[in-house]
Amino acid sequence: MLKVWAIIKRILVSILPSVVAVALAFGVGALLLLVAGKHPGEAFLTLFMGALGSPNRIAETLVRAVPLMILALGISIAFKSQIWNIGGDGQFMMGATCAVFVGLNLNLPLVLLWPVTFLAAFIGGGLWGGLAGLMRAKFNANEVITTLMLNYIAMHLLSWLIRGPMIDPLGQGFPQTALLAQSVHLPIIFGGTRLHFGLVIGLLIMAAGYFFWRTTVGLKIELVGESEHVARYCGIQVPKTIILTMFISAGLAGIAGWNEVFGVQYRLLDDISSGFGNLAIVVALLGNLHPLGIVISAFFFAALMVGGNTMQLMVGIPFSLVTVIQGLVIIFVISRVVYTQWRDRLAIRRFNSGVSGQSSGRSH
């Protein structure tokens, strides 16, 4: 019984900084609302109800949470290796694009189509990210900038494809691809909502993520993140590992894209990644780069997104407030070190003077 309580206490302690950060971020958000002349209580209530107020709303939140958590898992793998993959959006888009391309053009029975398009999405996203990994490994090009630039390039590429070569012949010129056949849509698992089978797939992927860190590949990636120098000394081929890490990370982003097109949109659109990329970074960090933390964190931020949209529609508060809260959460999370630093310094000073008190007693 004591052991269970110890575990719970440990989890609570590790969550506390994140909870405090979120509370602070909302606090500042509330201040901003007051400055703008709006009522924070009303705003946040709408936010909460919009996300969790009914089964339908909860289902909607879950729908948003799934791609977010898969994307965040991918990002966490890169981040753990100290590779700053900011290209989630672009990799998501490329994965979705490859999935839709294959899905529209390959006539396969369902049982095969899903795995094939899944693979296409993984490879499509993976290559887009692997490219940045290659540039970092071979040319020392800063991956933050390259992945970011690739985001913009992917966005424009997608824009061209859905207005040009992949445009929906029945869409009357609207920027979108044709619809994927009804039969290949992921089945809805909760009647009356948009919640689809992707949730199950997503959770399975998260579980796989947990076990990933117990593999030799996972340790290799972790070691490269700890120190490239030490990794090299241990015989690890660092450039190859970097490329592999980016490939896996981006591949997962691609799968998140697959999930979105096969479960929700059923076609490609300009806005297919709807800013998941940036948000996933926040989710990954808040979840401490740990699969379980990411699941919780993804749900929370999905709620924020869904609630934020409702807030905008119902109470006229711009969605940018949610962006502000996102930014603040990251800032407060990474600042939590200040508290522990200050606390440690105090402890050490007290400890040291205690020890020196003893010693000067001793030799004099």
């Binding site: 900011i86 933050v144 900038i145 913009y152 424009h156 061209w160 502000v324 930014g327």
Partner: protein, 314 residues
């Protein structure tokens, strides 16, 4: 249509446009040179520029004075960048994450505040931005006149800042301190230099320049504030700094290159060259990647790049 491209008129317009469009990249790049030379990588430039753009616009709108607006932009940029300084220097957080957070915050906050201040209107609020200066004889010189002597004062100010930046870094005691702090903070500390303070100042300088860069967009180029107006220039500026190997003159050349790509893309679209316009839109970003790939291998980063400094007590 292709023939339109090869006229003198097109070239003149292109080069003038290149100069104009280089400014929103050059200004944040110059500031970032200070920041990076002191050892800090500030990826929050995008957010700072947006806040600066808003500050400049709002300041001008309410005081009907462009110069006060400019001052507002600089102050806003400096204050906002202090968040980055606090996170990287005092909290010693990971600079990449801190910078990204700042960009997200700046993007959201600028959009939110704009809505809060100006509300939703049919037509976006506007101001009269800085007008191009007319020089007595110089502006009328054929070809060279329209290219070099037909810009607003911010453009010329920026060129002056290029020289100021170079002189400060290479020829002043402050510049020496900055360079030492970025290369070997321990050595600087042992010579009595306050490493944290120097870095704070450099980040603030970077914020001031970035705020100025944002202001250029809102009150020197367009006449309003749009929440998408920076569109990645803050990040391109970081690439420029590395490409220029932290030298202000090379940064000028690089910024002109990027400005040129941007200007080219606009003009080719207007003419109707049969390339899908998305490819042209992507051009600056592709260029950034190519540039980064070609330089990064040989670039000698300041030795203390992104490494926070503590006077190590064992």
């Amino acid at each position: 249509m292709q023939s339109d491209v090869l006229t003198v008129g097109f070239l003149v317009s292109l080069l003038a446009g290149a100069i104009r469009l280089s400014i929103p990249i050059l200004l944040p790049a110059l500031g970032e040179i200070f920041t990076q030379r002191s050892g800090i990588l500030n990826l929050g430039l995008e957010g700072i520029m947006l806040m600066g753009a808003l500050g400049g616009f709002a300041g001008t709108f309410f005081t009907h004075n462009l110069w006060i607006g400019l001052l507002c932009a600089v102050l806003v940029g400096m204050l906002f960048s202090l968040i980055m300084a606090f996170l990287s220097i005092t909290v010693k957080a990971n600079q990449v994450i801190a910078g990204t957070a700042l960009t997200i915050l700046g993007t959201g906050l600028s959009a939110f505040l704009f809505r809060a201040i100006f509300g939703i209107q049919k037509l976006p609020p506007q101001v009269e931005s800085f007008q191009p200066l007319k020089f007595p004889i110089l502006t009328d010189i054929p070809v060279l006149g329209p290219i070099f002597f037909n810009h607003n004062i911010l453009v010329y100010l920026t060129f002056v800042l290029v020289i100021v930046t170079a002189v400060v870094l290479e020829k002043t005691t402050f510049g020496l301190k900055v360079r030492a702090v970025g290369e070997n903070p321990k050595a600087a500390d042992s010579k009595g230099i306050h490493v944290q303070l120097v870095r704070y100042i450099c980040v603030a300088i970077g914020g001031a320049y970035a705020g100025l860069g944002g202001a250029f967009l809102s009150i020197g180029f367009m006449n309003t504030f749009l929440d998408r107006m920076v569109s990645g220039r803050g990040f391109i500026a970081v690439a420029v700094v590395i490409f220029a190997r932290w030298n202000p003159y090379r940064a000028l050349a690089a910024a002109l290159l990027f400005g040129g790509a941007d200007a080219l893309q606009m003009r080719l679209q207007a003419i109707g060259v049969p390339i899908p316009h998305q490819f042209l839109l992507a051009l600056p970003y592709v260029l950034t990647i190519l540039v980064l790939v070609s330089v990064s291998k040989k670039a000698e980063f300041p030795a203390a790049y992104t490494l926070p400094y503590t006077r190590a007590e064992r």
